[in-house]
């Protein structure tokens, strides 16, 4: 029986916009991540996928709900209670150049982290050497400035940096979106290594279904702050149940020109998440929308089978 490492229960995060209005960035989201799995969150911009990741790490404070890490509730802990937990959960961001101090040598950035967490010089050096080996970069990168390195090298260093404190859990927020295809693969392989060789648990946030299908074990599809479908990868891609997931699959970049087809393309734009009303959030764009039901009653996330959940009144 696998054990849960991260558990999120009914979390909500509303951002105030103007007077008496709120942007519903995350609205009643619940899921569990088991130890040693790569859990994917996929959605378009504005769907709240990054906010979910940040809420778990407490880079943002949630408004409602509960977050558990290693069976311990962490959303209500004080700063000092959080201190020993923080190194166990780390984050990799989309833009590697923006996540390194431009005026510091790479080595200094690493050493600073060691200092904050009171690692001895010997221990720190040993860890750095091991990590550089893992990410396959020579030791002289430590004497470089961030702008002297390529995006791929920096992103590998960003992964190494978050491993420095031996975390158990990593949130990777679009870690390959800013990279070229040829280096994308290097980072994705590294993330797979973290799971397979080091047993890490990873929350992988992405907008790219191909990438998610390639590396994730379980996937949640989010739309306007809510999970519309959640399943193991096989289930999701073989037995797609939510019309929005289906729409995403239809527009997934094709792998070969022979796969061109006149698939239905979703019309319209993602609506605003400000002051969302009752009803299915996808109703306005959904080809299967039933007036009087879908636009009035919010569908709950229900199980189709033990590995597959969907929030839809008319699942496919």
């Amino acid at each position: 029986m696998a054990t849960k490492l991260v558990e999120v229960k009914h979390i909500k995060k509303y951002f105030p916009v103007g007077k008496d209005s709120f942007l519903h960035a995350v609205d009643d989201v619940s899921f569990e991540i088991e130890k040693g799995e790569i859990y994917g969150i996929v959605g378009e911009s504005g769907s709240g996928k990054s906010t979910i990741g940040r809420c778990i790490l407490r880079l943002l404070e949630i408004d409602e709900g509960e977050v558990f890490f290693a069976k311990e509730r962490i959303d209500d802990q004080t700063k000092s209670q959080m201190a020993p937990i923080r190194p166990q959960m780390q984050m990799v961001f989309q833009n590697p150049l923006a996540s390194f101090n431009p005026k510091k040598y790479i080595g200094a950035t690493f050493r600073e982290l060691g200092k904050v967490y009171h690692l001895s010089k010997e221990e720190l050096n040993e860890r750095i050497i091991n990590l550089l080996e893992l990410i396959n970069l020579p030791a002289d990168v430590l004497a470089r400035m961030p702008n002297q390195l390529s995006g791929g090298q920096l992103q590998r260093l960003a992964v190494a940096r978050c491993l420095l404190l031996n975390p158990k859990f990593i949130v990777a927020d679009e870690p390959v979106s800013a990279l070229d295809v040829s280096v994308q693969a290097q980072i994705l392989n590294l993330i797979l290594d973290l799971r397979d060789k080091m047993g890490l648990t990873i929350l992988f946030i992405s907008h790219d279904l191909n990438v998610v299908q390639r590396i994730c074990d379980k996937v949640a599809v989010v739309y306007l702050g809510t999970i519309v479908e959640q399943a193991t990868k096989e289930e999701l891609f073989l037995h797609t149940a939510h019309p929005y997931t289906k729409a995403l699959m239809n527009v997934k970049p094709i792998e070969h020109p022979s796969l061109r087809s006149d698939k239905e393309v979703l019309m319209g734009d993602i609506p605003s998440a400000v002051d969302v009303k009752e009803g299915c959030r996808f109703a306005g764009r959904c080809p299967k929308c039933e007036k009087g039901l879908c636009d009035c009653v919010t569908p709950p996330l229900v199980a189709i089978n033990e590995n597959h959940f969907v929030a839809c009144h008319h699942p496919l």
């Binding site: 040829s182 693969a185 020109p257």
Partner: protein
Amino acid sequence: MQKLSDNIVEIEDLKVELMSVDGIVTAVRGVDLKVMRGRIHGIVGESGCGKSVMTKSIMRLHDEKKTAYSGKIFFDGEEITGLKEKRLRELRGKDIAMIFQNPMTSLSPIMKIGEQISEAILAKSDISKEEAKTKTLEILEMVGITPAADRYEMYPFELSGGLLQRVMIAMAMVNEPRLLIADEPTTALDVTIQAQILNLMKKMQKDTGVTIIFITHDLGVIAEMCDTVSVMYAGKVVETASVMELFDKPAHPYTKALLDSMPKGSDTRDRLTTIQGAPPSLSMNIKGCSFAPRCKYACDKCKSEEPKMTKLDVRHTSTCLFAAELYKKGEIAIGN
């Protein structure tokens, strides 16, 4: 008047040097390219491969004081490289139009979108303001910005990224150009919006017969959109082929490696295929084949000899010393 040739654009041995703060960057290093009329010609390559610099040269959009061109660019028989600014101004926005990655930065934030399109019409023809407005409303309707009359009055900040890109397409197409250059037009958009824009561009191409040069880093978009593809690496076109040929029988190791490293959802192998290393800096001289340091097939000859273009088929060329072998066998025997 001479007969129109099959190729709307012909580029011969184009080199473009840009003066930058860090010295001279040779962004384009001897490109030969023919773009067939009425087709969608994709240019694919990674960041910094020179694809944007090369296509901007067709409109001569670089700062002339800081740019040195050599080689020739022909647009419908007219040699662009030698043209006077006056003639270039006539061509730009009329015969050759361009759309960019970020529509928000291509539009004026303080002018109504309808007026911006009207302005583009009035700059290129002698019609009245009322006629221009009518024409604008028509094109807005055509690109799916409805209700056109309301949208005409809106400012860019009131529209989503997808709608703004439709405005850009409307503005580019309103003067019925012969050539449309689209530089990563969907890269900043979400996948569902990207699909809408790609469909719109395909439809406009079919309806008007315009030739499109489509620049992208995304092989998925290439597979979806293009008839012909040129792959660029380190300032050169390394391979040109029809889209089917390129995906089925790549004849350059770089193309093959790019195709292999595409994350494919259906792929069940343990790990993804990677390309080791990174592209070379374009401010330096490159000896031999520019891809050799990253190429798994590279031999000593590749490092010293610059590969020439090999013709594999009527419309399939590759600049690899072993192109013919790769094309025929799908592999190159290591150790030649």
